[in-house]
C-alpha cells in the first residue's frame, strides 16, 4: 500500500481527466480567442458566471441539460462585454479581462443574495450530469485507456470532441484561417474584405461559450451545487496551459492534462504519505509545475503576432 508505485494506477489517470477537463475547455477557448488577436485573461470570471447560471438553471428546472445550456449561453453572453470593450472600444485587453474577473464576482454575489438570500453556496441540484455517465461499448473495455477515456461523464466527452473540432476549425476551415489571420496580420485580412472585428468577436464569443461549459462542468457535473470561488484559479491555470501549449488546441489539451495530473498526483502523495513533508509543499506542487511548464516552454511557443494589438479601422472622412 505504500510507495510511489502504488500511486501510479488507473484511478490516478481517471482523476487526471476529472481535474483537467475544466482547464482543457477554458484553454482551447482561450486559444481560439487569442488566435483571433484578443488577449483573454477573463476565463476565471467567465467560468464562475457559467458555473453559477448552470447550477441555478439546473436547480429551478430540475434538468441538468438545461443547466448545461444555461451555463454555456451565460458564458458566451458575459464574454461579449470583453469583446465590446476590447474590439469596439479599443480598451486594453488585460485591463478589460481584469475588470471582467472582478465583475463576475460582484454579479454572482449579488444574484446569490437576491435569489437564495445568502452568499456562499446554492442548494443542491436534484440531478447532476454525473448521473449520465456512460461507458462506450467495446472501447471502454480496453485496459487502462478504456476506463480513462471511454467511461466518462457528458462534458468530459464533449471536451475530447471539442479539442478535435478546435483543431480542425483552426487548421482546416476557411473561417479558421480568417480568424488566425486576424491575430497574425489583421490589416491583410481587412484588405481582402474580411472583417477583423467579426473574426475577433467570434473568437471572444467562442471562448466565452467554452469557459461557460467549463464552469458548468464544475457546478453540475463534478459537483451538485454552486459555491462562490469554486473556479479557484482554474481560469488562470488554463491561461498557462494555452501558453505552454503554444496557442494550439492539442498543446493546450496536453498541458491541461499535465496540470490535472500534477494535482491528482499531489493528492495521492498526501494519502500515501510517500514523503513526510508539510502539506503546503504538496498543495503548491501543481502551481509550481505550472510555473515551470510556462517558464520552460514559453521560449518555444510563439503568440500570434497581433495578439493583444488593437485594430482600428480608419473611418471614411475621418
Amino acid at each position: 500500500m505504500s510507495g510511489i508505485a502504488s500511486i501510479l494506477n488507473t484511478d490516478l489517470l481517471v482523476a487526471t481527466i476529472r481535474l483537467s477537463t475544466p482547464i482543457t475547455l477554458a484553454a482551447i477557448g482561450a486559444t481560439i480567442c487569442e488566435r483571433s488577436g484578443i488577449v483573454n485573461i477573463a476565463m476565471e470570471g467567465i467560468m464562475i458566471i457559467g458555473a453559477f447560471f448552470a447550477a441555478v438553471a439546473a436547480l429551478f428546472t430540475g434538468n441538468p441539460w438545461i443547466g448545461l445550456l444555461a451555463g454555456v449561453v451565460a458564458g458566451g453572453i458575459f464574454s461579449l462585454i470583453h469583446a465590446v470593450a476590447t474590439i469596439t472600444f479599443h480598451l486594453d485587453h488585460v485591463v478589460s479581462g481584469a475588470v471582467m474577473n472582478i465583475l463576475s464576482f460582484g454579479i454572482v454575489r449579488y444574484l446569490m443574495v437576491m435569489i437564495f438570500g445568502h452568499p456562499g453556496t446554492t442548494d443542491a441540484i436534484p440531478v447532476g450530469l454525473k448521473a449520465y455517465q456512460f461507458a462506450i461499448p467495446g472501447l471502454s473495455k480496453i485496459p487502462v485507456l478504456g476506463p480513462v477515456f471511454f467511461n466518462q461523464t457528458p462534458i468530459v466527452y464533449m471536451s475530447f470532441v471539442l479539442v478535435v473540432l478546435t483543431l480542425i476549425f483552426l487548421k482546416k476551415t476557411k473561417t479558421g484561417l480568417h480568424l488566425r489571420a486576424a491575430g497574425e496580420h489583421p490589416l491583410a485580412l481587412e484588405t481582402i474584405g474580411v472583417s477583423v472585428y467579426k473574426m475577433r468577436y467570434l473568437g471572444v464569443f467562442v471562448s466565452g461559450l467554452l469557459s461557460g461549459l467549463a464552469g458548468a462542468y464544475l457546478s453540475i457535473e463534478n459537483s451538485v451545487s454552486f459555491t462562490e470561488g469554486m473556479a479557484n484559479g482554474r481560469g488562470f491555470i488554463a491561461l498557462a496551459a494555452m501558453i505552454s501549449g503554444g496557442w494550439t488546441a492539442i498543446g493546450s489539451f496536453v498541458a491541461a492534462l499535465f496540470f490535472g495530473f500534477a494535482d491528482a498526483f499531489q493528492v495521492r502523495m498526501q494519502v500515501f504519505k510517500v514523503l513526510n513533508i508539510p502539506s503546503e509543499i504538496f498543495i503548491i506542487f501543481p502551481y509550481v509545475a505550472t510555473v515551470l511548464a510556462v517558464a520552460g516552454l514559453v521560449k518555444k511557443s510563439r503568440p500570434p503576432k497581433a495578439d493583444g494589438v488593437d485594430f482600428m479601422i480608419e473611418k471614411e472622412g475621418a
Partner: protein, 358 residues
C-alpha cells in the same frame, strides 16, 4: 480623458455598483429607534454576512436566543469589507452597546483596536484568540475545543468502519477512514487531532488518512481528496473544509460510502451518506457570554474556551442514520462524552499531541 480611459472607468464603476448593491441588499438590521431602558447587545458579522447557514447565522441565533430570554435590544451590522470591521465595532459601542461581538478569526486585529478605543464596553470575538499579555481588559476571545467534537465523531467512525461495518452497505471491511481538510489552521487541526484520537481509542488498527486541500471554497478539490482516500478503502470521510467539504460529502455520496459533516448538522447535504456532524455551539457560546455579562461575570483580558461541559462541542443527531447506527455505538458515544466531561479523557488539540504524522 481618452476614450479608452473613460471605458475603463465606466467598467470599474459598474463593478463597484454591483458590489455595492450586494451589500445594500443584505442591509443592516440595526434598529435605530430602540427603547432606552433595554440593554443593547451588538454584533458585527464578517464579510460573509447573515444567511450563510453556518458561522454568521449561528452567532446571530445566539443573539436572538438571548433577546428572547433576557429582553435585550439585539443589533447586528454586516461588514461589507474588511475595512468596515473597526467602524462597525466602534459604531456599536458608540450606540451604547453593553457587549459587542466580532464574528470570525479575520476580525481579530479590529476587535483589539475597537476595544482599546472603547474601554467601557465589553468586546467578545468568536474564534479569535486574545493574547492575555497584550489585550485590554474589556475584550474576551471565545474559542472552542473542536478536538472534543472531533473525538466523539472519531469514536463513531472508528466503530462503524470495522466492528459494526455490517450495519450499512456504505461501510466496508477495509478499516480505513479519511479526513478532508481545508486550510491547515488551528481550529481545523484541532478537529483533525481529536478525530484521529477518537478513532484510535476504539479501533487502534484503523488506518486514518488525511488530505489538506488548502482552500475552503473548491468543491472539486474536496471531491478529489475524498475519492483518493475512498480508492484506498476509506468508507467514512470526515470533512473539515467548509465549502470545499461539500465536494467531499458529494464524493462519498456518489461513491456509495459515508461521510461526517462539520461545524453544523450537515445531514441535509446528503442524508443517505452523512452519519452525523462534528459540531461546535457558536450559538450557545454567544448566549452564554451575554448571560455572563448581564450577570456581571464577564471576564475580559483573555479567552474563554467552550467545550463539552458547556454543551458547546459534540456531535449532531444521527438523523437518517439513527436506525442504522447500532445501540452499542450510541453507548460508546455517550461514554466518550462522559469521559470527556469528567476529564478522564482529554482530546488532543494538535497533531503533535495526538501523535499523528498526517
Amino acid at each position: 480623458m481618452s476614450k479608452v480611459t473613460k471605458i475603463t472607468v465606466v467598467m470599474l464603476v459598474i463593478s463597484m455598483v454591483f458590489a455595492g448593491l450586494v451589500f445594500a441588499n443584505g442591509g443592516s438590521e440595526a434598529a435605530p429607534a430602540a427603547e432606552k431602558s433595554k440593554v443593547i447587545i451588538g454584533m458585527a458579522t464578517d464579510v460573509g454576512g447573515l444567511g450563510d447557514k453556518s458561522f454568521n447565522d449561528g452567532s446571530y441565533q445566539g443573539l436572538l436566543d438571548a433577546k428572547a430570554d433576557f429582553g435585550i435590544d439585539a443589533r447586528v451590522v454586516e461588514s461589507k469589507q474588511q475595512t468596515d470591521y473597526v467602524p462597525n465595532l466602534s459604531g456599536l459601542a458608540e450606540d451604547g452597546a453593553q457587549v459587542v461581538f466580532a464574528v470570525g478569526f479575520l476580525m481579530g486585529d479590529a476587535l483589539i483596536e475597537a476595544a482599546e478605543n472603547h474601554p467601557d464596553t465589553s468586546f467578545a470575538g468568536i474564534d479569535i484568540f486574545v493574547d492575555p499579555s497584550k489585550a485590554p481588559k474589556n475584550v474576551e476571545g471565545l474559542l472552542f475545543k473542536e478536538q472534543e467534537s472531533g473525538y466523539v465523531a472519531g469514536v463513531v467512525a472508528g466503530l462503524l468502519t470495522k466492528q459494526y461495518a455490517s450495519a450499512s452497505d456504505r461501510l466496508n471491511d477495509d478499516n480505513v477512514v479519511g479526513m478532508v481538510l481545508g486550510m491547515d489552521i488551528p481550529p481545523v487541526e484541532r478537529y483533525q487531532a481529536g478525530f484521529y484520537a477518537g478513532v484510535k481509542s476504539v479501533n487502534p488498527d484503523c488506518k486514518v488518512l488525511s488530505v489538506v486541500t488548502g482552500t475552503f471554497t473548491d468543491q472539486a478539490k474536496g471531491k478529489e481528496a475524498a475519492l483518493a482516500m475512498i480508492e484506498q478503502g476509506a468508507d467514512i470521510i470526515f470533512q473539515i473544509a467548509g465549502l470545499t467539504g461539500l465536494g467531499a460529502i458529494n464524493a462519498a455520496n456518489e461513491a456509495g460510502v459515508a461521510a461526517i459533516g462539520v461545524d453544523v448538522d450537515q445531514s441535509a447535504v446528503a442524508p443517505d451518506a452523512v452519519i452525523t456532524s462534528a459540531v461546535k455551539g457558536i450559538t450557545r457560546a454567544v448566549y452564554l457570554t451575554i448571560k455572563a455579562d448581564l450577570e456581571g461575570t464577564f471576564e475580559g483580558g483573555g479567552n474563554k474556551v467552550f467545550g463539552i461541559n458547556e454543551d458547546t462541542t459534540g456531535i449532531s443527531s444521527f438523523n437518517k442514520w439513527d436506525s442504522i447506527v447500532p445501540g452499542d455505538v450510541k453507548a460508546a458515544v455517550q461514554k466518550a462524552i462522559d469521559d470527556l466531561k469528567s476529564g478522564k479523557v482529554v482530546a488532543p488539540a494538535s497533531r503533535k499531541e495526538a501523535g499523528y504524522e498526517g
